[in-house]
Symmetry: C2
Subunit: 200 residues, 2 copies
């Protein structure tokens, strides 16, 4: 039998989906979240507006998924782990310096701020964000903190949600409000303060 | 000479200004920031749209001033002070419990969230916010922390900006992301952790 070329709708859908998510991120970076429209995303991605509305109910939902796509396949998340050299101070400083550098990077500034505005204003999206993005990452961090508890480097009864808040929330607030410098020294200070606060 | 009733433009302006600011706050509470328009504020306040644009360049600016008005005359701020019983732990717990209760109050939820979205998305407004609202309040808090340093209750070399971030940023992030309960116990835990972190 001669080979017949059939269209492959699944593959075409996947290609459109990627094009839409890439377009959403690019446009946010270029013109800012407020000025991005579903129309502009559709035009950039080379698809019809209806294609976007078939998969997403709102601009916020597309933006959210475009960041989810950026953070990789959630299945891969199972392989995530924080460095564990046995020295919680050194390991956390490595992680926090990288996190501070990321927040300070102008390339990430616009899209991360756009995502945060969506999460803050839309409680449904906030719940999705917690479930799909924040919680898996927090679980990874808590696993490292638990190892530090077992090694006697953190109080055994420390509330790990509170540990993560004390470590990350000051950086988050400083970045959101542009209220102070985001430096390696600041990253180190946050680790020092957190370890002192939750010392055994 | 007979008394002549003259119109008093200054007083009329002041009345319009108050009506506009009240209308802005009321509408945000009722329909949410995104759905409030300059037109709706003007209609509610009984003034023309042009009256608003004469005094404010944008919706964000009106909203900002409506909150500034709520926090009272800045001149009065000079009289502000945190409680000082000599016991920094008790004083901070009193203040933090009140702050947590305010964030947890649904009456304040919508307008405070609207203000925060403005500040996060608009760096000029963020600078104004820091200058006019945040910094004066922070100065008052730092005065109390300095007294605690002198009393040997906080490390003499503690960075007071960092102390305030560790104390308030976790609460702020938890409220913004709706990521945990806002309770008196949480307020106390933040004070305990902060005092341990900055112990002499």
């Amino acid at each position: 039998m001669p080979e017949v070329k059939k269209p492959n709708p699944a593959r075409r859908n996947e290609r459109s989906r990627h094009a839409i998510l890439d377009a959403a991120r690019e446009l946010i970076r270029e013109v800012g979240y407020a000025k991005v429209s579903i129309e502009a995303i559709a035009a950039r991605a080379g698809v019809g507006k209806q294609t976007i509305y078939r998969w997403w109910p709102s601009k916020g939902a597309v933006v959210f998924d475009s960041f989810l796509a950026l953070s990789g396949d959630p299945e891969e998340g199972e392989g995530m782990a924080l460095p564990d050299t046995g020295d919680i101070e050194a390991d956390l400083k490595l992680v926090m310096r990288a996190t501070v550098a990321e927040f300070a990077d102008p390339h990430f500034e616009a899209p991360i701020r756009a995502l945060n505005l969506e999460i803050i204003s839309d409680s449904d999206l906030a719940a999705q964000y917690r479930e799909k993005l924040a919680r898996p990452v927090e679980d990874v961090k808590k696993a490292r903190l638990r190892a530090a508890q077992q090694a006697g480097q953190l109080a055994a009864d420390a509330d790990l949600d509170l540990v993560l808040e004390v470590l990350y929330a000051p950086l988050y607030q400083r970045w959101l409000h542009r209220s102070g410098p985001l430096t390696a020294e600041y990253a180190d200070a946050l680790v020092d303060v957190t370890l002192k606060a939750f010392r055994p």
